[in-house]
Amino acid sequence: MAAVDIEHGGHGGHDDAHGDPTAPYYKAKTGWKSWAYTLDHKRIAWLYLTAVALAFLAGGIFALLLRLELFSRGKTIVDAETYNRFFTLHGAIMVFLFIIPSVPGSFGNFFLPIMIGAKDVAFPRLNMLSFYVYVLGAIFALTSIVVGAVDTGWTFYTPYSVQTSTAVISMTFGVFVLGFSSILTGLNFLVTIHTMRAPGMTWGRLPLFVWGMYATAIMQVLATPVLAITLLLLIFERFFGAGIFDPKLGGDPVLFQHFFWFYSHPAVYIMIVPGMAIVSELISTFTRRQIFGKFAIAMSSVGLAILGFLVWGHHMFTAGMSEFSTMLFAALTMLVAIPSGVKVLNWTATMYKGEIRLVTPMLYSMGFIFLFSIGGLTGLFCGTLSVDIHIHDTYFVVAHFHYVMMGGTVMGFLGGLFYWWPKMTGKLYEEGLAKVSFALVFVGFNVTFLSQFIMGSRGMPRRYYDYLPQFEPLHKASTIGSWILASGLFLTAYILLKALISGKKAPPNPWGSAALEWQTATPVPLSNFAETPIVTRDPYDYHLASPEELYDGFPEDREKAAAKPKKAEEKAEKKAEKHEDKDDDE
């Protein structure tokens, strides 16, 4: 690393985050410009984290508002025109501005290079660009909201999305731009993993988080372009009356659904695979063990990526597809249950004979397994044809996807936040209070969404402003649950921000993890590692890790403790010498 020249012009394409490579990454350069124009993957991760947190807040507020409207029948707080916008914006913001960019943008950016022993991603400038493309997309979406918003549902089905007078074009163009951000991130990660692994970091030794990012990147790169063309065609249709989805002009409204879901089904795997990737890391660290069946879990991520492209029609079982297509999609959908099942079973098996610490990140991992199992099992109901006819477009489906997306990915995301906060900020959060926040989130979530399964199977359809009297008690329960959930999430934000500002200093490896990112200093230096690491073992092989690697205190304390026996040795030596002298004297 001594070859890092500070002279400008000596190296191609330099960035301003080029400061002292051994300084903490957030101190290497200061001033707002050093953040706004940064090329350092760790700072870009913070930019993304801030952005997606704000998006989560916005999407969450719309959720609270719509649930409040649904608390009682008839009008509760807003009229139907507004309510239609609330559920549309909740969906669009959560899917495109929060969940899809969340894990890759934040933890992916921060830790992927570190986990493979690299100094940065393959294309730091493209990384910065992907963030600003995200911001541009967000601006278009915000513009749409301000000039009247959209009331089509986040799925933008035609013909309604072509006919409605709401601001569809600015919103869909915003989503189109956001898609590019996703593609650029995926492209960057793919190339980084292929070409920048440190010596000894073989594919077999890659941490499962990296495998997850890899599978996600494949999907981002292959599926998102189809969303791009779908949205462009919708804009073309609205603006020019092109007729591709208009039956009066020879078009086919159901074609939109095929195009849309060809992206959006892989998109749901883009959403869940990163969450699963985090859980693998957490379970390994907090059971102090290699993940059981690591290879199978890695392959199951790739398996989901591939199979995910083949099942889009299961969102359209009642849309009027041919019986043959319907059958094909149903059969393939059943297969997609297997990789997810393998993961859940392997994680649980890892806990057997482990050394389990029930700290907040581990609670979130267990919460993930609990909630994702429910989400996945209810997927069986949805994928079974005759049953799906009954539950499609009801609250059963709403509950199912919230269990997997929120009970899955968001739980993984929150667990990752608590887990990696000490490494990212150099501060410790308050564990006791964090457990309380976990309990609120977990209980609140279940109250909100368990009631929705029952509503749905009893016949309560989706996207309804008003409903029949028999559904009112369950709606009330669901709304109350949303308040509990929200309080847990606000408490989480408080805990993490408090830790950031005034938390106790964190040692480099507070969890005593064997994984590579914990072998850097805390705070992480600009260049990630003092020297390029040479990897000699799998990141989860605790029995091969040295005590230094697993030490969970401060390096200074370790040196003091090492010095102590030395001092005692020296004392003993001196005593021995004295004795010898004495003997000589005698």
Binding site: R73, T164, P253, T348, V387
Partner: protein, 327 residues
């Protein structure tokens, strides 16, 4: 056959419902067993292997047999679910040859059911114990026909026919919902809040399926058509086809021109021209509502077209009714 709703599912009111419910509960109990097993194990491990003094993690073993086993074991169960579900689906999709057809058209925001005798109504009546096939399409955007009690659902698409069939097993009334979001409003043209009973939208396409004995059903059909004078038919259509939703007949101005005294007068259009209200004007207004907008009313018009929904003799009947609404 469950005649009562269960905790999770509504009453079974069609011949297809029992099989679907059996499969539903099979998946349910399978899920419960798997869930309790896995989560039970997880919680037990979390307690038994919690970190404490003198308790160290053992290195993770490999167990290829176990892994292969639980990768392959789900396959037969999944195959069963697929097969059972597919059979049920085919049963729901392929109507018996002797099914009586009812033509369904959905629009923003209501239904039109056209029965075998050519008469239409906005509510669905079906006979018990006989197969009924619905041939469906939409007049505008996507809708979906959903009757939980019959366990049936299918999208209605503009420009395309879709169909469902069912055979009801007991008389009574059961809810009919639209299950594909199609917009909606709770305020009127002038921004005033509507009473919930006046809501128009996706959730307000709420209706009931009336399942009646064969005799009652036939009598109902008779009542729809019959040899009523055109003015009476027109009045019935005025109500059933939702004209009443926007046009008054008592002279009060609403979101649309009142029919009282409308016939034969000269109307002023938005662009200032005057048009005489005659048969052609009424016919055009019903089939192409945006062709001429009367001054003082919303443009583009919020009136849906009745092309395909009203036949020529329906339009004649409406005109006859209008002629009776003198000033």
């Amino acid at each position: 056959m469950s005649l009562e709703p269960t905790f999770q599912l509504p009453e079974q009111m069609s011949t297809s419902a029992a099989n679907i419910d059996d499969l539903y509960y099979f998946i349910y109990w399978l899920s419960v067993v798997l869930f309790v097993g896995i989560i039970g194990a997880m919680i037990w491990f979390a307690w038994t292997y919690r970190a404490r003094a003198g308790h160290k993690a053992s290195p993770t073993p490999h167990n290829m047999v176990l892994e292969v086993a639980w990768t392959l074991a789900p396959l037969p169960i999944l195959a069963l679910l697929f097969h059972w579900g597919f059979q049920g689906y085919m049963d729901l999709s392929v109507a018996p040859a002797n099914a009586e057809e009812i033509r369904v058209r959905a629009f923003q925001w209501g239904w039109d059911f056209e029965y075998k005798n050519g008469e239409s109504d906005s509510s669905l009546h079906i006979p018990v114990g006989r197969p009924i096939k619905l041939v469906m399409s939409s007049n505008d955007v996507l809708h979906a026909f959903f009757v939980p009690g019959l366990r049936t659902k299918r999208d209605l698409v503009p420009g395309m026919y879709s169909s469902v069939w069912f055979q009801a097993t007991k008389e009574g009334e059961t809810d009919l919902f639209c299950a594909e979001y199609c917009g909606g409003k709770s305020k009127d043209q002038n921004g005033n809040e509507l009473d919930p009973s006046q809501f128009k939208g996706h959730w307000a396409m709420l209706s009931k399926v009336h399942i009646e004995s064969n005799d009652k059903y036939e009598a109902y059909l008779e009542g729809l058509g019959g040899n009523k004078p055109p003015e009476e038919r027109g009045k019935a259509l005025y109500e059933k086809k939702q004209c009443i939703g926007c046009h008054t007949v008592d002279g009060n101005k609403g979101v649309a021109p009142t029919w009282k005294g409308l016939w034969g007068r000269d109307e002023t259009m938005a662009d200032g021209t005057k048009v005489k209200v005659d048969e052609n004007y009424i016919r055009e207004s019903i089939l192409e509502p945006n062709a001429k907008i009367v001054q003082g009313y919303a443009s583009p018009s919020v009136m849906p077209t009745y092309k395909g929904t009203l036949k020529d003799k329906d339009i004649d009947a409406i005109i006859a009714y209008m002629k009776t609404l003198k000033e």
